[in-house]
Amino acid sequence: MRVTNRMITDNVFRNSSAHLERLATLQNQLASGRRIEKPSDDPTGINQIMLLDSVLKDQQQYSRNIDQVVTWLDTTDSALGDAANIVQRARDLAVQGASDTSSRESRQALAREVLQIRDQLRGVANTQLAGRYIFAGSQTVTEPYPDKKPTTAEGKSKLDSEDRLGVAIGPGLSIEYNQTGPDVFGKYVDSVDSIFEDLGDLANILSLSDDTTYGKISDLIGNIDARLTAINDARADVGGKRNRVELLASRYNNLEVALKDLKSSYQDADIPALISDFTLTQQVYQSSLAASAKIMQPTLMDFLR
């Protein structure tokens, strides 16, 4: 095969060019720490990376949602606990008032305490968390159990909301995290169902101390018992939800770590492998340059006298 000097120099240039290109790519990957810079570097890889990115972001949002739900549930739980205690105390007062041994004065004292308890309970029913009333359903900016009942239609429409507040805590998974006023404390507007009515009635009965009203106290005690059951049911519901989200939260922590690892395996450059590749390419480059230097220089002209 006939070989010309041009072929040799072209060869030298082409080979050193190829090595330099490889070195440049490796250097780029080492500097950025990334294996994939653009879609054409690895089309299937980039699909995975973007998918994992998206899933990871969603997971992080679900974790954030769960944190919010947990705070709400804890607040609800503590409020319900207080409510149960208060209602229990009211029951005790009612029972005391129903017995024949109390005098008129003592029953009036009981009546006053019942009224105080009612206010305390009202405070609990109007618990707020970061400016939102937790027992107000979807009317979160309106006090669910105000002292004075509203008279306008608009005012009335804002109370006794039975709407459930839900939030997504996983793909296709959501949780309703609130307890509504009507469920726990009874309907308030245009009704006489709520515990506040009952307590008001109880106070009235106690302060009247009329014999025929004793039967009514036992009715009220029945109502109070029903109310206590409702409160405890609500508490159980809250407790169950609390457990559920806590379990989910710890699972999500592990999931997040696993997802990050997976994403990294696709996206990040394998630094040790790159470094050894880089060193090897450098050596090959240098040897090729040395060989080229030897072959490029001498011609026949050096030897003809």
Binding site: P39, M50, S138, V141, G172
Partner: protein, 561 residues
């Protein structure tokens, strides 16, 4: 029969031939590094012999050689290799240009990364999730609005940058055509000179080298076929159309395409399709018209503007390029905006004063359509009504003061997506973001009852769009479609990358083959030089010797007698 003077003539011819060879060696060495140079050699043949009669007893005839005749100086060139080389160069021009363009296109998307569309849309859904947890919070609302603006901006920037690539490709095409036409003119000039020189009987080697080089350069831009004529003229064709017709040049021109501001390549006034052009021009046209393609028909203006389509106008050359990037972006943006808008329109804002629920007043169905999304026509109708419903995204092109109106204002393409003015309006705008479920409208009185501010039904549903199948299929979400679309682009880029690499390797191989035939080897030339030097010296020596012999003959004989 004169042996003496006859020999001088022979030796003289030998010296002339040796000189010509030495000059050729000098020329080869001087041009060893000239681009496109083919090494030359002397074509010598024995000169006609003379009949010689013997002077002996037997009468016999013999042929005595007549020396050497320098016929021609020809170049070492493999024409078949040249044709092959041109074809491969055309393909290399095509794939390298395509690869460069696609790489540039890819970088526009900035994926993978937090600034790409994928990341921004993810953040958008997260913001709605955050709002769902706390619908009354103005901080959460502000976040939704801010990121919504980011989404719109990202779409628009991407769209604008990619659209600009079309006009840039156009500019590159114009430059390439100017270059091709310059080459055509040069070939025509060279044809004239070459044929003139050949009629005188000699080979215009350096002119032919130059012509071959020019045609090779032309091949990178367009695919040409050549035909060498008897008289030395080269005919150059593109797909049967003659660009160089012997002495005549037929230049390429540009005519406006169906998209009025973009140009097609034309020959004698008729457009040449991209595949017929080959080379770099083909790649640029393919990039402009197929890979990037036209924006969706629904967004194109009614006015007499770029790609504009008037009602009832024939669509040839203006149809949707459904595989093109711009069209796909438009579809993505529109579907996304339509889904958000539909849920939003049927939701309840925090500030219900001035809210117009969907119904007879704005032409929308009173309850959500089961298909899921409002159509562009419905959106347009609703916007035109006096009691507009509450949309989150709007078509920026319909803002008052815009000269160009899209053909379908209800279609929100990637180039026009923006937040609606209602939402953008300061603090009041924040409270118009719909987070709650639809109000119940009394059919008799028409009054609407809104849910409480804590209701987050709409916000939750919008956040759920991240995993809701869109695009009429059972499982394809927004993310799925975007990823597929980007992945396809990546595959195209990788493929053209490999093609370009293959072509470059092939061309290197062909170049080496050409060098074998046409390249100059210093060692060979040097040894040839020694050879011719000896031949020259030998011929000179013969003259010397004959001179002496004749001298003896002429001057050694005594005069007179």
């Amino acid at each position: 029969m004169d042996y003496g003077l006859y020999g001088l003539g022979l030796a003289y011819r030998g010296m002339v031939a040796a000189q010509a060879s030495l000059n050729t060696v000098a020329n080869n060495l001087a041009n060893a590094n000239t681009e496109g140079y083919s090494r030359q050699r002397v074509e010598a043949a024995p000169a006609p012999s003379t009949l010689v009669q013997s002077m002996g007893t037997e009468v016999s005839l013999s042929q005595l050689g007549g020396g050497v005749d320098v016929r021609k100086i020809i170049r070492n060139r493999d024409e078949f290799l040249d044709v092959r080389m041109r074809a491969e160069i055309t393909d290399e021009g095509y794939s390298t240009t395509l690869k460069e363009q696609i790489n540039f296109l890819e970088t526009q998307f900035q994926e993978p990364g937090p600034n790409g569309l994928s990341g921004v849309i993810s953040s958008y859904f997260s913001a709605w999730d955050q709002l769902a947890v706390n619908p009354e919070s103005s901080a959460a609302r502000s976040e939704v609005r801010q990121i919504g603006l980011s989404v719109a901006n990202t779409f628009r920037n991407l769209y604008d940058n990619i659209k600009k690539m079309r006009t840039e490709a156009d500019a590159q095409i114009s430059n390439a055509i100017v270059e091709v036409n310059a080459y055509i003119e040069q070939v025509v000039d060279l044809n004239k000179e070459i044929s003139a020189t050949r009629t005188l009987g000699s080979e215009p080697n350096s002119l032919m080298d130059r012509r071959d080089l020019i045609v090779e350069k032309m091949s990178r831009l367009v695919r040409v076929q050549t035909s060498l004529q008897e008289d030395g003229k080269l005919f150059v064709f593109i797909g049967g159309r003659a660009l160089v017709d012997g002495d005549k040049a037929e230049f390429l021109s540009q005519i406006p395409s169906a998209e009025k501001t973009l140009l097609d390549v034309a020959y004698r006034g008729a457009a040449i399709p991209a595949e017929g052009l080959g080379g770099k021009l083909h790649a640029l046209l393919e990039m402009r018209d197929s890979i990037i393609g036209r924006p969706a028909l629904a967004t194109r203006t009614n006015a007499d503007r770029e790609g504009g389509v008037a009602t009832g106008q024939a669509l040839a050359g203006l149809e949707d390029t459904t595989d093109g990037i711009l069209y796909q972006l438009d579809v993505l943006a529109n579907e996304f905006a339509a889904r958000v808008n539909t849920i939003h329109a049927y939701g309840s804002p925090l500030d219900t004063s001035g809210h117009n629920p969907p119904g007879a007043l704005n032409g929308l169905p009173s309850s959500r359509p089961s298909s899921g999304t409002l159509t562009p026509d419905q959106v347009e109708q609703a916007l035109a009504s006096a009691k507009k419903p509450n949309f989150f995204f709007a078509n920026a092109a319909t803002k008052p003061g815009m000269i160009l109106q899209p053909s379908k204002p209800g279609f929100i393409g990637a180039g026009q997506i923006d937040l609606s003015a209602d939402i953008l309006a300061g603090n009041a705008g924040l409270n118009r973001i719909a987070s709650g479920k639809a109000p119940t409208v009394d059919p008799v009185t028409g009054t609407a009852t809104y849910p409480g501010p804590g209701d987050n039904t709409a916000a939750k549903e919008i956040a759920l769009l991240r995993s809701t199948p869109m695009f009429g299929t059972a499982t394809e979400t927004f993310g799925d479609r975007y990823r597929t679309f980007l992945s396809d682009l990546g595959v195209k880029g990788q493929f053209s990358d490999r093609m370009a690499q293959n072509q470059l390797n092939l061309i290197e191989h062909l170049k080496a083959q050409r060098e074998q035939t046409s390249g100059v080897n210093f060692d060979q030339e040097m040894s040839d030089m020694v050879r011719y030097q000896h031949a020259y010296n030998a011929s000179a020596k013969i003259i010397n010797m004959l001179d002496q012999a004749l001298d003896k003959l002429i001057n050694g004989m005594p005069p007179g007698r």
